[in-house]
Amino acid sequence: MKGLRFFHRAGSPVRSPTPCLAAALLAVSLALLPAAAPLAQGVTPVKTPLRVAYVPVITWLISWVAKDRGFFDLHGLDVTLSPIQNLSLLPPTMGRQFDIAASTAPDLLKAAASGIDVVGVAGETIELTANQSMQVIVRPDSGIRSVQDLKGKVVATPTIGAVMHVATLHWLRAGGVDPNSIRAIEVPFPNMGDQLKAGRVDALELLQPFVGQQLAAGNVSIGNPLLSVADPGLFTFWIAQGAWARANPAVLERWIAALKDARQFLETNPTESRSILAKYTRLPDAVAQRIPFPTYDTTLNASQLEVWAKVLRDLGQLNGPVDASRLVVTPR
């Protein structure tokens, strides 16, 4: 402190040559550091860190299997998995807080239309007649037997504006029902059954395992809106920042390879996969043991997205031009 005060009083501090020399040495050694780093990497291969966000539902199971069974490690990835409740919030965080995240076509397309640099990088689940995860459920005594009967009814949806509701609106439109004639209210999946029982809503947009629960309780399905979009159709997939995805094709290749390994493990070891499911979702064991697996498929192509872009455009939910062919960056 004394020295500092002295220099202040003196007006123009005179520097000794020693600090200058030290600074020069420091600069030189700092400049050499990046050159030394690859050498160190050559000795011990460093895993690529990946920050990944998922939603704790069965849809994202293969990523948890890949993590817990070491498939990410095997492919040189150091993956940190973070649970998020609402995947609609994820696109703006790509490249900032997360590298790869769970998403759906409406979320990606709407984000891209509003100018966010985000692309699809790998598939996760598809919906097809042979294996269905979504159903629209009504009470057996409701008099609702088909999509046409939904006119003027109250429909419970997990999120207005998200994939399942967009599909439902498309399904209504395709069935000749004005999508504006229904009233949609947001209800979390676990509460939907009680709302139907209490007569507060007429129909539920439900996903497994809740579909199975409601069917077992005696309620009935009047169809699967996702299949009205495409059959087989794209349901969920992984997204990343566009610039990052284009710069890291090798990382994406390893990501997909790990997911494929995990899918194979899941097919041959369902029991062990179900205990991983119970761990990540905290679902009761009885539910985790019985819930049907969705169809996992890591391929993703632009034509699958184009179908959804048309659906959104027809419903007037896509403001701004979107070129779906540029929204998929995935290694061939």
Binding site: S82, Q85, L89, Q97, P190, G193
Partner: protein, 259 residues
């Protein structure tokens, strides 16, 4: 509060719980997501033994207190300025009335864009609404200091700082404390909301997580814990302000234990 009052207060609660237990237990009311109080008590008992529970409570408590402190510091500071300066009020009051009713939940996407899923995001959602009760009450408290008190201060030619500490602050203190209490309960509510819809941490996220995981007993357990936390924080604040301002509570004020 006398023992008799305590007894009748708790008695009323027990009657409600018993009725709930009978309705659910007898199958008269049968919903998947409405467990009986007894089941909730069981869930609560297992919940508090999990190591993650303390972390969740700690996170929500920290977010609430940091957000509340920031809101109170800014709110009382600005409120004091606005309360003592008619000129400042003339220029700012319209803006405040426009900003005050904005729903803080609507800021969640903006907060996420700015801070990602983080404590900062949560704090933005907490401070934005919790600021107003502190600000408006402090402003009203300072502006409502009786004329004769300010006249006496002027007659004695009191210094600005003395006037603030000896005249304005004691006269405005009841209103400031009310503002602080309103801010505190709002800060806790907003912390839980921010955790439910945004930042996946703390009691709010745990509540949604258990709901999605089909554990309604644990979900209601978390609701109860949040309620108790609110009661505890309010009790501590009332106790603290009684210690700091002994003259303030001579008149009975609406407290949870003064009924």
């Amino acid at each position: 509060m006398t023992g008799r009052q305590w007894a009748s207060g708790i008695g009323g609660l027990l009657v409600c719980l018993a009725l709930w237990q009978v309705l659910v237990g007898s199958g008269f009311v049968e919903y998947d997501l409405l467990p009986s109080p007894w089941t909730i008590a069981g869930g609560l008992a297992t919940m508090v033994t999990e190591p993650a529970f303390a972390v969740e409570v700690g996170h929500t408590l920290a977010a609430t207190l940091i957000g509340w402190l920031a809101a109170v510091l800014a709110g009382t500071g600005l409120g004091a300025v606005l309360g003592t300066s008619p000129l400042a009020r003339r220029y700012c009051l319209a803006s405040i009335e426009v900003l005050r009713p904005l729903p803080a939940v609507a800021f969640v996407p903006v907060a996420l864009l700015l801070f990602g899923f983080s404590l900062q995001m949560e704090l933005l959602v907490i401070v934005a609404p919790a600021l107003w009760p502190a600000l408006v009450n402090t402003m009203e408290g300072f502006a409502g200091v009786p004329q004769r008190l300010t006249d006496v201060a002027a007659t004695f030619h009191l210094k600005r700082s003395t006037r603030l500490l000896r005249v304005y602050l004691p006269a405005a203190a009841p209103a400031v404390v009310v503002g602080m209490r309103l801010s505190l309960s709002l800060a806790l509510v907003m912390a839980v909301v921010a955790e439910m819809v945004g930042n996946p941490e703390g009691l709010g996220y745990a509540l949604v997580r258990e709901q999605q995981a089909l554990h309604p007993d644990l979900m209601f357990g978390y609701v109860l814990v949040i309620g108790l936390l609110g009661m505890l924080l309010n009790g501590l604040l009332v106790w603290g302000s009684r210690l700091a301002l002994p003259g303030l509570f001579r008149r009975p004020v609406a407290r949870w234990d003064s009924a």
